[in-house]
Subunit: 484 residues, 2 copies
């Protein structure tokens, strides 16, 4: 009914619905610790919206009406993260090969449903239909810079909740930079105690203890998000150089740095203690990291000799591999010899071809589309603009497969939205920069290119704005979107 | 399901349908000549799309499944043109107060349905839902200039078919101008035989006999379209001045004019024969016109003395009223004394306030939005651009109620798309200029302002483009629209 001209004064397509009832149960088969945990995630969300008990029933004997069925079954076309979701007036049927697939189907179900709080008892309903869904890219990431300013465990958890809601599966934490070091390293404790005491402008310093970090890793993993820790090397290292004089070529500790210039610091690549330092840090990070990736930075090493840089990256990859992880680095590592297991993260797009020629895959984080710290426009109160102003449409309207002539779909591991924090102090600052651009990158990473277009996105995100508003999320009311 | 972010790879809302079957009947109650004729219009369209007989059953004894029910019933909220349309899997229920309301409901039903010709027998289906619909404005017009170039009875009928499909209800024919006179007047027969032999460039001349004109009036009326005849006075009269020397102040017949300049001709307002001429023409036009309106032009009388113009318009309105009609004139009549029954048609918007102060209503045909003869852009092969280039969005994205601070919703009788034909020779030329702008004006005239927006229109009109293409309609593939 949606193509009529002229538009009728009032138009109501026939709509069938599934509605929760007082006897609705959540049936799970097979019942495993993971499927039960995922079911509990759904039950908790629906209990918040309704007055119903919504018990979880493991391995139910038979089907009944008005229930929600979560089932693991073999269907190789759904892959590791896909799902099928069928909503009928008589029940909701969610099927996947993996708990992750069930989890993403639940995110979809929760977006589809609307709580009905005007009536008693509070209930919940969703339009009927069927969805079959698999992600385009395996790496659907968000990077958060906690080095320029520190953000609390609580803030990171709240951000993780939003990443999960939009089906992102990587949280890349930029844990060290010139201004601060944010992760406790037991063998080099002053990294955190001295290096962690700095920040841009001297505000919002701090660090995560290893226990806190493990808590974050577990919280993310429950939401099928892998935390990718980054220790930036050999540049962007002033905080470490301030904590330990022996890491400097001249043996003199640097001052803590509170500015925002880049490219002036470097580890001393001639000293063997530098590699001992790196091995200790990477070993401890690897022990904290169930995920397969360690990010070693490698960007903007302007104060490092080019030949020394090349040898350095090779040696660092050896250390990362020794502890069973894959090396991720910013695109500059493409200039050096890297293995086919390495991953180059493009931010300007200069060295992607060199990485690909070595068999490596790339993650796309182009500054002009995916840098969430870029100002939306000249009036934006937060952010920088060295890559230009990035409005919502700039973040949305690009295709990874045509981003560069050198980079084909199969070379692309995924897409990541990067949020640097030079100008950000609070959780509200983070979300103001992230929404509605993070959701744009999430859709680029998940949805088939042919299915998506800006007009459709701008209309859908307007409905999300109403939900953000209701949940108290601070976001940018882009004038490109007709917010509801 | 249409707000998900990220968009699923595949998404299918549950869809219910009404489908025609071999036993489907069209049931009509009460059966009157008009309701039966309207039913036949529907039956004919559906028979063309299917293999079914679709008999019309007057005043059926009882309801049955799979039928289409057309019913007149009292519901004052539907007014003279509104309708209710309910499509269920078991039947289609169309209700209105008037045959016109049924006719507009049928237009909606025909847009909703899709023929299924791939299968045997050919059938037809439409998604279920309910619509309640009344027009915003009583006057939903299209003006066609047949004076600069003549268009055949057949061409006019084809244009009427398209006007009806988009719920327009006025066809304003510009029957005379400097270049040609297009309607037979028995008492002044040389108007047609001499005045009708001219045209822009000397191509496509001619006139309608009174019998042909009556045929057009009847054809339009069957589609609930009132034909509004315009004889342009006192300027734009060179064709009449060429036919009759006595209408000129100097008693000398003018040459036929084939150019496109305006504003050089004038009836001789000092001669009593001029008023005899006008009375004869208006009397014969009124006799041919069951509708309540006679359009007397009145625009661009640059060769007429201002005081004489004022007295002239008053005298012409007296004649129009004498024959039981309401005077419509271009906005310049707002400068003169007119009755509250008169209607001023705005094209520049200068004299609207003066007309309204006298109690008259206005029709909006602003050049920069509603003049379909304006070029779409600098490359347009047809059209002029004195009012600017008018792309699809320019035609669509304006609101009559905010067009002028002096003109409120209640002052506006309606909206009319004007198509002047200086550069148009063929039916394809007409439709190239009309589509997709005529449909934009049709929506402005019919649909509530709050319901409509450009993004929605551009998506809907893309689907219509596919239908236009299939039906061989020549139209402008505006780059603003993602044509299907």
């Amino acid at each position: 009914m949606n193509h009529l001209i002229p538009l009728p004064a009032s138009l109501l397509p026939t709509q069938l619905e599934f509605q929760l009832g007082p006897d609705t149960q959540i049936l799970v088969a097979p019942a495993t610790p993971e499927t039960l945990r995922v079911s509990e995630f759904l039950a908790a969300a629906l209990r918040r919206a309704t007055d119903y008990a919504l018990p979880i029933v493991p391995d139910p004997p038979a089907h009944a009406r008005d229930q929600i069925f979560l089932t693991l079954h073999d269907d190789s076309t759904l892959g590791a993260e896909g799902y099928e979701l069928n909503l009928t007036p008589d029940g909701v049927f969610l099927r996947a090969q993996t708990p992750a697939g069930l989890f993403y189907g639940i995110q979809t179900l929760l977006q589809l449903g609307a709580p009905l709080s005007a009536q008693e008892p509070k209930t919940w309903r969703a339009a009927t239909g069927s969805i079959r869904d698999v992600p385009r890219f395996a790496w659907r990431g968000a990077m958060l810079d906690v080095a320029r300013h520190f953000f609390s465990v609580q803030d990171i958890k709240r951000y993780i909740d939003w990443l999960a809601a939009y089906k992102l599966n990587r949280l890349h934490l930029h844990l060290s930079d010139d201004q601060g070091w944010r992760i406790e390293i037991k063998t080099w404790d002053k990294l955190a105690t001295i290096g962690g005491s700095g920040s841009v402008g001297g505000k919002k310093s701090g660090y995560y203890t290893q226990d806190e970090y493990r808590e974050l890793v577990a919280y993310a993993a429950e939401r099928f998000i892998v935390i990718v820790p980054e220790i930036d090397t050999p540049g962007h290292t002033n905080a470490a150089l301030a904590a330990y004089p022996e890491l400097n070529c001249d043996g003199v500790a640097r001052e803590l740095y509170t500015g925002i210039e880049v490219g002036f610091s470097s580890l001393c690549l001639d000293k063997e203690i530098t590699y001992q330092f790196l091995e200790d840090v990477i070993r401890e990070l690897a022990a904290l990291t169930p995920g397969e990736f360690i990010h070693i930075g490698g960007d903007e090493a302007h104060a490092t000799d080019k030949t020394a840089y090349t040898q350095f990256i090779a040696r660092v990859e050896t250390i990362v591999e020794k502890y069973g992880k894959r090396m991720v680095g910013w695109e500059e590592i493409g200039q050096t010899k890297i293995s086919a297991r390495a991953i180059a993260q493009l931010w300007r797009g200069e060295y992607g071809a060199q990485a690909i020629q070595q068999g490596a895959q790339v993650i796309l984080s182009p500054g002009k589309h995916a840098y969430l710290d870029m100002q939306y426009n000249e009036q934006s109160p937060l952010g920088l603009h060295w890559a230009g102003y990035v409005e919502a449409q700039d973040a949305y309207a690009w295709d990874p497969a045509t981003f560069s002539a050198d980079i084909g779909e199969s070379n692309i591991l995924g897409v990541e939205a990067a949020l640097w924090s030079e100008t950000l102090l609070t959780f509200d600052d983070i979300t103001f920069m992230a929404f509605p651009r993070l959701t744009a990158i999430a859709e680029i990473a998940w949805s088939p290119q042919a299915a998506r277009n800006w007009e459709s996105y701008r209309q859908r995100v307007a409905a999300h704005g109403a939900r953000w508003q209701a949940l108290g999320l601070h976001f940018y009311r882009s004038p490109q979107i007709d917010w509801e």
